[in-house]
């Protein structure tokens, strides 16, 4: 297999007349965690669902391990589904209340007809322990667990097939702070152990900072900035990214800044502007629309480029 673990090219989703996701490019390199951040309604969840082919894109391509899976039928898609899995935000509705935890974790094996029922049970127990729960939980039901414990079950179900790509859709945002840290640790450990590539969707930048290698910022269906995590946190260029960063709580009271809140109009007005000679490589010049331009290395920001010096 060649190519990055997951790649979205010019992916677009329109509902009726509304464009929810607008020509988004996104690359998750092997063994890396890419965070997709943005406020609710920015289209980040829809982007994740399109990557999973749970929502059909209006346009664009989806490449999994270099292979185009955009137009595969559900039947042809099935083997690819083993490689890419998902963890959702709501741990309660993610688990079927009528199934035991053992059945839930083993369900992927059953769907893909792997192993005998006894083998599946053993696997499920093994994974229960691997996500930090006692094997005896296999006979319990979701409603007996706490939110954090349920999220562990979701992780086990997602990874039991040995997936190489994990889409995590705000897996920690419904959890208490202490539990949140446990789940982040769990994901981090598993990512290291299994060589996972992860698309981590979140609006919680404190989690993103500790987990992600790269950050992609979405605003109203568009990618407005992307770059290595350090760069984004140190030298965010787009005003929206800076506003998001301002919203992260700071522990030291003396270091507290005044938070900036931008209206949509202010944001549009403050889109970065460049002269064409400032940009390397040369950007498109025949458009007045904002475009992603490279700043330093792999740090890109959406900006309006005008000709001249």
């Amino acid at each position: 297999m060649t190519g990055p673990a997951l790649e979205l090219r010019q992916i677009t989703k329109r509902f009726d007349t509304q464009t929810v996701v607008d020509r988004v490019d996104l690359v998750v390199p092997r063994n890396e965690v890419v965070a997709l951040v943005g406020e609710s309604g920015s289209g980040k969840t829809t982007t994740g669902l399109m990557a999973l082919r749970l929502v059909e894109p209006t346009a664009g391509r989806i490449l999994l391990g270099g292979e185009d899976i955009t137009d595969l039928s559900q039947k042809d898609l099935k083997p690819f589904r083993r490689q890419m899995q998902v963890v959702f935000q709501d741990s309660y509705s993610s688990l079927d209340p009528m199934m035991t935890l053992g059945e839930i974790i083993a369900e992927p094996l059953a769907i893909h007809a792997i192993g005998s029922p006894a083998e599946r049970r053993d696997q499920a127990r093994h994974w229960l322990e691997r996500v930090g729960l006692d094997g005896s939980y296999a006979t319990r039901y979701p409603h007996e667990l706490s939110g954090g414990q349920r999220q562990r079950i979701s992780v086990a179900r997602a990874l039991i097939l040995g997936a190489s790509v994990l889409v995590a859709d705000e897996p920690t945002s419904a959890l208490d702070v202490s539990v949140k840290a446990q789940i982040v640790n769990l994901l981090q450990d598993l990512q290291g152990d299994m060589g996972l590539s992860m698309l981590f969707i979140s609006h919680d930048l404190s989690v993103v900072r500790s987990l992600a290698d790269q950050v992609v910022v979405m605003l109203r269906g568009r990618v407005v900035e992307r770059g290595p995590t350090d760069r984004i946190f140190a030298a965010a260029h787009h005003p929206y990214t800076r506003a998001l960063l301002d919203a992260v709580p700071v522990v030291d009271p003396k270091a507290r800044r005044r938070r900036t809140f931008l209206t949509a109009d202010e944001l549009a007005a403050s889109t970065p502007r460049f002269r064409s000679h400032e940009i390397e490589p040369q950007p498109l010049l025949d458009t007045a629309d904002p475009q992603l331009v490279a700043l330093v290395g792999s740090h890109f920001v959406e900006a309006i480029v005008t000709e001249g010096r």
Binding site: L54, Q89, L95, M98, I111, E144
Partner: protein, 300 residues
């Protein structure tokens, strides 16, 4: 493999004796509801009486074996007395239970056969199909079932199967609405999406997730359809357009009994009590099951 238990020291050790499936919890809630439990027991006794009627009574329901003692009051020999045509009234009543319960159960089955797939499809497919089903249900809500049943009964000239059909025709609406609401709320749940992301077929999703999660509304809808059908049968038979004599039906017996009740009270009291107790027990049982299985109480 990392040691994750260190990262989560607060996790309680599970106690295997405290396993509780959602249905187990429902059973416990039901057992705590004394009225429903009592109703269930009463209903079981009535069902047993109906099933073993030929063993309990020596005479058949239509045997005019005691003509000389017609209209005799209750005695140790004839617990409910003798009716106007010389038949043992207790025998008539327990055979009446067969008709009443039989019609109630058959109509409930019919309601289920009609309401379950329609409700599941309406909830799962949504869109136009759902719209059409809801409009049909609206029609049913505007016409009082009893009036329509009256018309249909005259149209079909009564008879057991016609009554079952009519009761089912009005009983499916409740089942359909219950199942539809449940499927609709579960279709959006993330565990369905998770199963899709795993490559599960629609068949797997319906069979493994939607149907097990619809067990509660199906049970409740089924049990609550029984007293409704029994009430309809008794009402139509009372008006003389339901089950036709000599088949023993409580509604019909009440109609006859009313003519005698000023002098022979037993002719009216026993069928009235039999009908009231059975319908009440079935309703209480249904209510109790609904409370026990209520999806909003499930979990937590």
């Amino acid at each position: 493999m990392t040691d994750l238990s260190a990262a989560s020291p607060a996790l309680p050790r599970p106690d295997s004796a405290k396993r509780r499936s959602p249905l187990y919890l429902a059973r416990r809630r039901f057992a705590a509801n004394k009225a429903a439990l009592g109703a269930g027991i009463v209903l079981v006794i009535i069902i047993l009486l109906a099933i073993f009627a030929p063993l309990i009574s020596r005479t058949g329901p239509n045997d005019q074996a005691f003509l000389t003692k017609s209209l005799a009051f209750p005695s140790s020999e004839h617990w409910f007395g003798i009716d106007d045509l010389g038949r043992d009234f207790f025998t008539r009543i327990i055979y009446g239970a067969r008709v009443s319960l039989g019609i109630g159960l058959s109509a409930a089955v019919f309601s289920l056969v009609l309401g379950l797939p329609l409700g599941a499809l309406a909830g799962y497919l949504g869109g136009r199909f759902d719209w059409a089903i809801m409009r049909i249900i609206e029609l049913f809500s505007v016409v009082p079932p009893l009036l329509a049943a009256l018309l249909l009964a005259t149209l079909t000239r009564g008879g057991v199967w016609a009554i079952v059909l009519i009761a089912g025709l009005f009983g499916w609406v409740n089942v359909c609405l219950l199942v539809r609401a449940q499927v609709k709320s579960f279709r959006e749940k993330e565990f369905i999406m998770a199963a899709q992301a795993l490559g599960a077929s629609p068949w797997h999703i319906v069979w493994r997730h939607l149907i097990p999660n619809s067990v509660s509304p199906v049970i409740v809808g089924f049990v609550l359809a029984i007293p409704l059908a029994m009430m309809l049968e008794a009402s139509l038979s009372f008006l003389g357009i339901g089950v036709q004599p000599p088949t023993p039906s409580w509604g019909q017996m009440i109609n006859v009994g009313m003519n005698f009740m000023y002098f022979y009270w037993h002719m009216a009291v026993f069928p009235v009590l039999a009908l009231a107790v059975t319908i009440l027990a079935a309703s209480l049982l249904g209510d109790g099951l609904r409370d026990a299985l209520d999806p909003t109480l499930k979990g937590r």
